[in-house]
């Protein structure tokens, strides 16, 4: 089942990148790079979440940073 998700996600990201790449003006190299970087980033997180759903998220990170203040409201 995880493989299906993986395949689906990869397909989705690929479609997304391809459909957008052709629309970017040829001389806008930077735009293309940014598009690809964000898509790959998304793809990596998606894979991470598919295989390790319990991986600590951004909220946990923030929670650690702001814990002393957050205690005030508990």
């Amino acid at each position: 089942m995880k493989m299906v998700y993986l395949l689906g996600t990869t397909l989705l990201v690929l479609l997304m990148v391809l459909s957008q790449l052709e629309k970017i003006n040829k001389n806008q190299k930077k735009d293309k790079v940014v598009l690809i970087v964000f898509s790959v980033f998304g793809w990596l997180i998606a894979i991470l979440l598919i295989f390790f759903p319990d991986v600590p998220g951004p909220s946990e990170l923030i929670d650690v940073l702001y814990k002393p203040l957050g205690k005030l409201l508990e």
């Binding site: 689906g8 397909l11 989705l12 479609l15 997304m16 459909s19 629309k23 003006n25």
Partner: protein, 404 residues
């Protein structure tokens, strides 16, 4: 701006997502159709010998399709084949519900459940756990009414009322009339988290069927109130004491009172038009007191005596009698509920909390000792507004109306 970004591109993206979503269409997860649902109209909870509880549900069978006669029911046909009773046992309602689901080809749907009936035995053990389910379950509405009965809830639900569609409808309508108490799930939970935490739920009873009628062709009706200490039932008061309770809770909406004028025979009956009451708490020299301030307007409905109800002096006297009758009612209720059952279903604790927050904080833990000794005084102002359509001389001859 790139001229490419226009309609054409939007459409491309749209198609892209269509393609992607085909992979997601493995099923429609929350599909619910009426002919796949078992609509629960009411539920009853009984206690079983083995310590488990029994959940009985009253299902409404939607008669769909064009072939059946919609909305037309044959003479006395109300209830025939329109409803269905099913029961299941379990440790919790949720558990019983899943066992019940095994016996039903359709998916249980709680969204139309209007009525919950608890058996007395289960009420004595506490019903907070069940009410937790009523509030937690997303489908259930917080306006469902709660009732307590001595008879098995299953027996009550399986009655076939002659007038309404099913028993749940009957009891709900009776509750809406507000002759007795009306307690919704929300009201109950609210009472439970209030300062005192004592609760009350209307009591229902099966109306004996008319002679010769089928035993099941009858209804259940509200008579009296079950009094709870927190969520455990501790006693029951009858109809007339319930009236006193309603006065204390400012929930009187409908009432007819008869008084016998001094030195006369017969009655003058009056109908309540509007009423409101308020409890005013006072702490004087460490003594906790409550004043019940009640106001009401009445109309005269019937006069079986020979007094002249158009005479303002007579009306004054009648008002006096009404006031003292109200005081008696309330005092009787207080004697049973406050002194004997020691349950604060009147909201005294909240009233004190509102009026004396500082004192309350200190004395809160002693409330159980304080409450039975709270002195209640009644200051009521009942006015008789009109004498009705019959205004002239009494129809009753003076000989008949004289006291012997």
């Amino acid at each position: 701006m790139n001229p490419d970004y226009g309609q054409a591109n939007l459409r491309k993206i749209f198609f892209l997502f269509l393609i992607v979503f085909v992979t997601l269409l493995t099923g429609c997860w929350d599909r619910k159709e009426v002919n796949d649902l078992a609509l629960i109209r009411g539920a009853g909870i009984d206690k079983k010998q083995n310590g488990k509880m029994e959940l009985t549900v009253l299902l409404y069978i939607p008669k769909g399709g064009s072939s059946s006669e919609q909305g037309m029911e044959g003479p006395g046909g109300g209830g025939t084949m329109q409803t269905l009773i099913r029961s299941a046992q379990g440790n919790t309602i949720a558990e019983a519900m899943s066992i019940l689901q095994e016996k039903l080809p359709r998916k249980i749907f709680w969204g139309h459940c209007e009525v919950f009936i608890f058996n007395e035995a289960i009420a004595k053990e506490g019903i907070a756990e069940d009410v937790d389910f009523f509030i937690r379950m997303p489908e259930l509405r917080e306006r469902s009414q709660l009732f307590i009965s001595k008879e098995r809830a299953r027996k009550i639900l399986s009655l076939l009322p002659p007038l309404e569609r099913d028993l749940a409808e009957v009891v709900r309508e009776l509750g809406e009339e507000k002759i007795g108490m009306t307690v919704t799930t929300k009201d109950f939970a609210e009472m439970l988290v209030s300062e005192a935490g004592d609760t009350a739920i209307p009591w229902i009873k099966i109306l004996p069927p008319i002679e010769g009628q089928e035993e099941k062709r009858t209804i259940a009706y509200i008579t009296g109130t079950a009094i709870f200490k927190r969520d455990k039932m501790v006693g029951k008061i009858d109809d007339s004491l319930t009236r006193g309770l309603l006065w204390l809770r400012d929930e009187v909406r409908y009432s007819t009172i008869s008084v016998t004028p001094k030195g006369k025979k017969g009655f003058v009956s009056m109908k309540l038009l509007r009423a409101n009451s308020k409890i005013v708490p006072k702490i004087r020299n460490g003594k906790w007191e409550v004043v019940l301030k009640a106001e009401a307007d009445d109309d005269i409905m019937q006069n079986t005596t020979d007094i002249d109800v158009t005479n303002p002096k007579v009306v004054k006297a009648l008002e006096q009698q009404l006031n003292s009758q109200l005081a008696n009612r309330v005092n009787e209720t207080l004697k049973e509920v406050q002194k004997d059952m020691k349950a604060d279903v009147f909201g005294f604790a909240d009233a004190f909390h509102r009026e004396y927050p500082e004192v309350w904080k200190k004395e809160k833990h002693r409330w159980n000792e304080i409450f039975p000794n709270v002195k209640v005084t009644i200051a009521s102002k009942i006015k008789i507004q009109r004498q009705g359509m019959q205004s002239g001389h009494p129809l009753i001859s003076s000989e008949k109306g004289q006291a012997e």
